[in-house]
């Protein structure tokens, strides 16, 4: 049976549609990622699923329980880590953990094995006030607090926002281990590179799901060939590419530009065109698209790559 199930969820704030016809299911033991920029509706969706808000339309259940009627039962069975820093800043690491254990009617000792892995890294700072922890440490403590009552489903709303790449990677490694223990995890993030770490993802933009798929299939469904182009003069490369008629879209992607062409294949004349504009050390190679490429294709009108 699905751990989370939503059908036609809608929510409006005045004239603004925060969520529009959201439907999806999450299977037990799955890491389900909701990927999209700030303001796309991720937090609203999480709050509806964690029974903090009621939807205007549609139905949803968590652990087979209705989010509106059986909210009290759901609250005993899920763990929730809101996007904002949600610990008591003036309590120490240990006091925070003990407090949240008691709120869920359990003790740190009874469930220590659940958080042992993560808490070990926090243990040297157990008497330090939560306010004095670094971003990565705060996030680990918040995760411990959300886990200490042995929830069946874990809701993590943007756990890695504002956290540096190394801490983010460590965090995801922890999530992988939790999944191995059978936990079902819903996680939202604005970082597209985290998408490939999820079992399935939903791309969300302006309150609508653009697609729900495994990251691999989303990438495979990219309708065009995509090329990474780099040169000695990256600043000018993007402009020159966009000025080149056969180019469909061109976006910067770190050390290269990701380019698609109207005729799908890369025209042989490209290198000559760029060389004529003073580019040297040219590299053009076909690559597998990233989730970010897919997101941009799905979320915007096709001419964005030229205009932007």
């Amino acid at each position: 049976m699905n751990r989370v199930s939503a059908t036609g969820i809608g929510k409006s704030y005045g004239p603004v549609k925060a969520l529009d016809d959201i439907s999806f299911d999450v299977a037990p033991g799955e890491i389900f990622g909701i990927i999209g920029p700030d303001g796309a509706g991720k937090t609203t969706l999480f709050r509806i699923l964690t029974t903090l808000l009621t939807a205007d339309a549609g139905r949803a259940s968590v652990c087979g329980l209705d989010v509106v009627k059986e909210y009290r039962a759901i609250r005993c069975r899920v763990g929730y880590m809101p996007g904002r820093f949600s610990l008591y800043r003036d309590l120490s690491v240990e006091e925070n953990l003990r407090f949240f254990a008691s709120v869920f009617n359990t003790t740190v000792e009874a469930n220590y094995h659940l958080v042992a892995d993560i808490y070990r890294q926090l243990a040297p700072f157990s008497t330090r006030k939560a306010a004095q922890l670094s971003g990565g440490m705060k996030q680990k403590l918040a995760l411990c607090c959300a886990l200490i009552h042995k929830p069946e489903v874990l809701f993590l709303d943007e756990p890695t926002t504002g956290v540096d790449p190394v801490s983010r990677k460590e965090f995801w490694e922890m999530l992988m281990r939790l999944r191995a223990d059978g936990l079902t995890i819903l996680v939202s993030t604005p970082y597209m590179d985290e998408a490939s770490l999820c079992d399935r993802i939903a791309l969300i933009q302006s309150g609508r799901f653009l697609k729900i798929e495994t990251p691999r299939r989303i990438v495979a469904a990219y309708p065009r060939k995509i090329f990474a182009v780099s040169s000695s003069r990256m600043h000018d490369l993007l402009r020159d590419l966009r000025a080149y008629a056969p180019v469909g879209t061109a976006f910067s992607f770190g050390a290269a530009c990701h380019v698609t062409f109207a005729a799908d294949d890369c025209p042989a004349a490209l290198e000559a065109y760029l060389t004529a504009r003073g580019h040297s050390s040219l590299r053009v190679e076909e690559i597998e698209p990233t989730v970010e490429d897919c997101f941009m294709l799905l979320s915007k009108t096709p001419d964005d790559g030229k205009r932007a």
Partner: protein, 369 residues
């Protein structure tokens, strides 16, 4: 139940670790009591008096000396010129000018009448009339003692005034109950509402809501520490007023505590009620500060007597909890009456508390919207 106590302990941590707030919470009562007790009194003391005495005879000198000898007045200046009287008030140092008529002693001797003019600074009307009353008293007693019965009118009525309950007319008798009403409300209502709203602001309320913890526990555990704190404050105020300001507790201590406890409950539930209406600490401070403190200061009888208010304000004051508390406390502390005389107030306060608790439990949202 264990959940509940863990929550209460956590709440105490918050309070104890925030040193500054702690200091304010425990310091406010002491500061206010001492301020009202010593600095802001409505009694007359050290009044600055100037005298214009054109006759300069034995009688005027004697009167002037008597005034100067009293602990209320300092005669600081003898004027040579009546035209300076207006100027001298403008500098603001002088509260009262005494102008003796010309040939004072002579007139008194021959006609039994002599003119004295008292010119007081009317910008503070209460103080001015008090000063004038005192001076009149001194003049009258001088007249009685100096004039032999022969020259006195044959028929006088001499009232003997007796001030019940507060023989020395000390203003502290009047304001200590008022201060208690103010402080308990401040601590309980304001701090409770802030403490709850803070959790909304920091996002921890979200986590608490998505937990099996019952909302009523969250609410109650928030108020326990402030209940304890306000009991400490109550004790501080009582000790200070009895031993420092020498205001006796005439009535039964038990009744006093019972009444205060009801009032504390009422204030706590007011705090809870506010916290269900606002989402930011700023708003909580504004609502409890402006919405509660102002009416309490102005309409509870702490500063202005309710009896002398316009009828409309008297009705409004009926919904100000402090009004009933202060009224009942005055009866118990100063008049020393038994519980049967404050049953009305006790009943009204209990009723208000019940309504507020029910309202805030109804309004407390188990969700965010």
């Amino acid at each position: 139940m264990r959940q509940f106590w863990v929550f209460v302990v956590k709440e105490f941590y918050h309070i104890v670790r925030d040193r500054r707030t702690m200091l304010i919470l425990l310091g406010i009562p002491v500061a206010q009591i001492l301020l009202f007790g010593f600095a802001i009194t409505s009694e007359v003391k050290d009044v600055q008096v100037a005298v214009y005495d054109p006759s300069r005879d034995a009688v005027t000198r004697q009167i002037t000396e008597q005034i100067a000898a009293s602990s209320y007045f300092d005669v600081v200046e003898m004027l040579d010129d009546a035209s300076r009287i207006n100027d001298i008030f403008k500098y603001g140092r002088i509260n009262l000018v005494i102008v003796f008529g010309e040939n004072f002693a002579e007139n008194l001797q021959h006609t039994g009448e002599a003119a004295v003019q008292l010119i007081a600074d009317g910008t503070e009307p209460n103080q001015a009339s008090l000063i004038v009353n005192y001076i009149e008293g001194i003049l009258a007693s001088y007249a009685r003692s100096a004039m032999p019965a022969a020259t006195a009118p044959s028929f006088t009525i001499q009232p003997e005034v007796k001030m019940l309950y507060n023989p020395q007319l000390q203003s502290s008798y009047y304001f200590v109950p008022g201060i208690m009403g103010l402080i308990l409300l401040q601590i309980c209502a304001m701090m409770t509402s802030i403490a709850i709203v803070r959790e909304k602001e920091t996002g921890t309320m979200e986590v608490l809501l998505v937990s099996p913890m019952k909302p009523i526990y969250i609410i109650l555990s928030k108020s326990v520490p402030y209940l304890v704190l306000s009991m400490v404050n109550l004790a501080t105020i009582l000790l200070l007023s009895v031993f420092v300001l020498h205001v006796p507790v005439a009535g039964s201590l038990f009744t006093l505590l019972l009444l205060s406890l009801v009032y504390i409950f009422l204030s706590l539930s007011l705090g809870l009620f506010i916290s269900t209406m606002v989402d930011t600490q700023m708003a909580a401070i504004l609502v409890s500060g402006m919405g509660l403190m102002m009416p309490t200061m102005l309409l509870s009888g702490l500063i202005f007597p309710i009896e002398s208010m316009p009828a409309v304000l008297q009705w409004v004051s009926a919904v100000v909890p402090a009004r009933w508390y202060v009224e009942a406390m005055k009866k118990i502390m100063v008049q020393g009456v038994g519980i049967e005389y404050v049953l009305t107030e006790l009943g009204i306060l209990t009723g208000m508390a019940t309504v507020l608790v029910v309202l805030s439990l109804k309004k407390f949202n188990v969700r965010l919207n």
